[in-house]
């Protein structure tokens, strides 16, 4: 019986807490909701985005003379929870706009709810084309796989002078599959040849069979748009087997672990990316970088930069719309043109996919070195 009394008293205390601390929000403030994976498999990315949004909020804490309040809800990196979180933000917190989610599949669960309620929502990093396709209120701050794949092909043809490309795809990741498909189409259109396509699965450790297959065909470029762990292993094994072909990959490589896992083998690896701290061109970007690095004592990364851009994009759209009316803000967002954000000058293209420069980064002396920015 004792345990029951104990459990009961705690439950009552919790209940009392929830009722006592009900939202005592001032009527004047504008609420912006965030649904991010603060726990679960994507927690690291969610936390970086949250940091970026907080810094952006610190730089521009007010809007139309009213204070902005951020409301964060965790999604556990889970789709059912992401849908619940979006619904909670709209119905219970009554937010004017939403930032999130980080993973495409979770964003696909949240976006239709916001669409029905007419709440503008913008994802920092959901690159799956389906996320914004055919929607009025869904946006994103990153470029899509479509654009990244095309730019990779353009860079491969024009800068690397590649003619015969071999492609290695992690088929368990929608991101890798989409990127590879867009790359191959564009590479062929620009007169290149795809001489081999081979598939792997996330978590694979041994790529020697695939590498030997490539070696026999003598490619002059290896396009492997996969995540950092597979990239590092691939580079190591390719160098061990004597395959010296340059490796081109996507933004999934931009993680410090690539360097620690890959060591000297990843030297010279090139990838397309959203952001590099030396590629900053805008005034807002420089201010953001300074504030971020001062408050967190670490280098600004792509996730935090894209998180900041979500906030700035919403901020400028609301200012232009002169209020928080969902339809007007969505329209202002869709009409965003040449907005000087952190990750470059952003123009909203068709299907609410930003058109902006793609950063090219090369691993040089164990560091991510900025090469150039390619405007599509």
């Amino acid at each position: 019986m004792g345990i029951w009394v104990w459990v009961k008293s705690w439950l009552w205390a919790l209940l009392a807490l929830t009722t006592l601390t009900g939202s005592g929000s001032a009527a004047a403030e504008i609420k912006i909701g965030l649904y991010l994976p603060m726990t679960g498999s994507a927690a690291a990315m969610g936390q970086m985005v949250w940091e970026g949004v907080q810094v952006a909020h610190r730089l521009k804490p007010a809007l139309l003379g009213r204070p902005v309040k951020l409301v964060l809800v965790d999604t556990k990196s889970d789709r059912i929870d992401a849908a619940n979180a979006m619904s909670r933000l709209i119905e219970k917190e009554k937010v004017a706009a939403v930032i999130g989610e980080v993973i495409s599949s979770d964003t696909l669960a949240g976006a239709p709810i916001a669409e029905r309620a007419g709440i503008p929502n913008i994802s920092p990093t959901a690159t799956n084309p389906l996320v914004t396709q055919g929607r009025t209120f869904a946006f994103r701050a990153c470029f899509v796989d479509d654009l990244q794949g095309k730019v990779a092909a353009q860079y491969a043809r024009e800068h690397l002078q590649a003619q015969r490309a071999a492609v290695l795809i992690d088929q368990a990741q929608d991101y890798c599959v989409a990127l590879a498909n867009f790359f191959m189409a564009e590479f062929r259109r620009r007169g290149g040849q795809i001489i081999a396509v081979t598939y792997i699965q996330t978590g694979d450790q041994d790529f020697t069979a695939q590498i030997s297959g490539f070696k026999g065909k003598n490619p002059d470029l290896l396009y492997a748009p996969n995540y950092y762990a597979e990239n590092a292993l691939l580079a190591r094994q390719a160098r061990e087997l004597g395959l010296k072909t340059p490796i081109l990959t996507g933004d999934g490589a931009q993680v410090p672990e690539l360097l620690t896992l890959g060591g000297p083998a990843v030297e010279g690896m090139v990838f397309t990316a959203h952001f590099h701290r030396q590629a900053l061109t805008t005034e807002l970007g420089k201010q953001f970088l300074k504030t971020y690095e001062e408050s967190y004592q670490k280098d600004l990364d792509a996730f935090a930069a894209l998180g900041g851009d979500c906030y700035f994009l919403l901020h400028q759209a609301m200012e232009k719309a002169g209020g928080t009316d969902g339809a007007k803000v969505a329209q202002a967002l869709a009409e965003t043109k040449d907005f000087p954000a952190v990750t470059g000058r952003i123009t909203m293209g068709p299907d609410h996919n930003p058109v902006k420069g793609v950063v090219i980064i090369k691993v040089e002396q164990g560091k991510f070195a900025y090469q150039t920015t390619i405007q599509p």
């Binding site: 789709r79 059912i80 619904s87 599949s105 709810i113």
Partner: protein, 352 residues
């Protein structure tokens, strides 16, 4: 007879509550109620094979995935399909076929049951840990197929833009149907035979119970309800992809039926409610609060800590789950009410 009337009354009461919720609750509350009903359906389906028959089946995610994909592919319009399948077109006849939601749900359930029929033969050749491994394997097979069969499932890109067909009537209707069918089955001669198999298979066989037939029956029915639940889930979340149907989903269902008490349908229903609604309610501990001048910043992830502590407490203090294998009955409720009445000193004592 009296019990039947009481059950009928309870269903009518639930309908009234749902009608109220439909009219007055906001979308967030409706969504929670829908999620709860779907998890009740899934937990009950899983309970039939795991709780009633005592077979440690670890592949319900396969049946949920089959139901979800079948129903989703059948309700999407051809125009929507051609837009989603932009990497590789959807294979005929799914590319042209569109069915009403009810028919699609049934097909989802039937496809899941069909898969259960095919896998039932190898699965029930083994028992115990081996059965667990075999079913786990089939669960993975379905997930990997969904990931790689680009022309049918759109691979890792998944399906999106399903119409939100799952209303309170659908989700709770199916949940109530699952509850009625499964309790009726458990109380019938078939159910008694299944419980006999759970307690001692050799003894049951000696008494003339056809073990394979009974297990297969439970497996098929369980798969059907899991499939229908999957279809409902797909049309609630409105997007599915293979990552939704990992072993984690099985794991959550296993937690639900173990916390509820293995072998108790009542426990499965209660634990499913607790898992879905309680999980959302616990979000308050993650929000920032100002209480009596103290400000609390809110810690993301804290609710999972509390949730796991609650699980630990349940396992320590209620070793056989919340219901401990017992069931809710109207007689039990009556006894309890009478006892409660007896405690009130000035109330009329029940007459014997």
């Amino acid at each position: 007879m009296k019990n039947r009337l009481l059950t009928l009354g309870a269903v009518a009461g639930l309908l009234l509550l749902l009608w109220g919720a439909q009219r007055f609750a906001d979308e967030y509350q409706v969504r929670l109620l829908n999620t709860a009903a779907i998890f009740i359906t899934l937990a009950l389906g899983y309970h039939l094979i795991n709780g009633v028959c005592g077979q440690l089946h670890l592949g319900p995610n396969a049946f949920i995935a089959l139901g979800a994909y079948t129903a989703a592919l059948l309700t999407l319009t051809p125009a929507e399909k051609s837009r989603i399948f932009f990497l590789e077109p959807l294979i005929w006849p799914f590319s042209q076929l569109t069915l009403p939601f009810a028919a699609a749900l049934c097909c989802g359930g039937l496809v899941a049951a069909g898969f259960a029929f095919l896998t039932g033969f190898p699965v029930f050749r083994v028992r115990g840990d081996y059965l667990a491994i075999v079913t786990l394997g089939f669960g993975e097979v379905v997930r990997v197929l969904a990931n790689n069969w680009q022309g049918l499932t759109n691979g890792p890109l998944g399906l999106k833009g399903l119409a939100p067909h799952t209303t309170l009537w659908w989700s709770w209707g199916v949940a109530v149907a699952a509850l009625l069918v499964i309790t009726a089955l458990t109380r019938s001669g078939y159910g008694r035979a299944m419980q006999a198999i759970r307690e001692d298979e050799i003894a049951a066989r000696a008494m003339g119970v056809d073990v394979f037939r009974h297990l297969m029956l439970a497996y098929l029915l369980s798969a059907f309800f899991l499939g229908v639940g999957g279809g409902l889930l797909a049309h609630l979340v409105t997007t599915i992809s293979p990552t939704l149907f990992t072993f984690f989903l099985t794991f959550n269902l296993l937690i639900i039926i173990v916390v509820g008490g293995l072998g108790s349908a009542t426990g499965a229903v209660l634990a499913a409610l607790l898992f879905t609604v309680g999980g959302e309610w616990l979000r308050v501990v993650e929000e920032p609060h100002v209480l009596l001048g103290f400000s609390y910043p809110g810690i993301p992830g804290l609710r999972m800590v509390i949730f796991s502590l609650a699980l630990l407490l349940v396992i320590i203090y209620f070793r056989r789950g919340l219901c401990g294998g017992r069931e809710f009955t109207w007689e039990g409720l009556g006894r309890r009410l009478r006892r409660l009445k007896g405690r009130i000193p000035f109330g009329a004592r029940p007459q014997r």
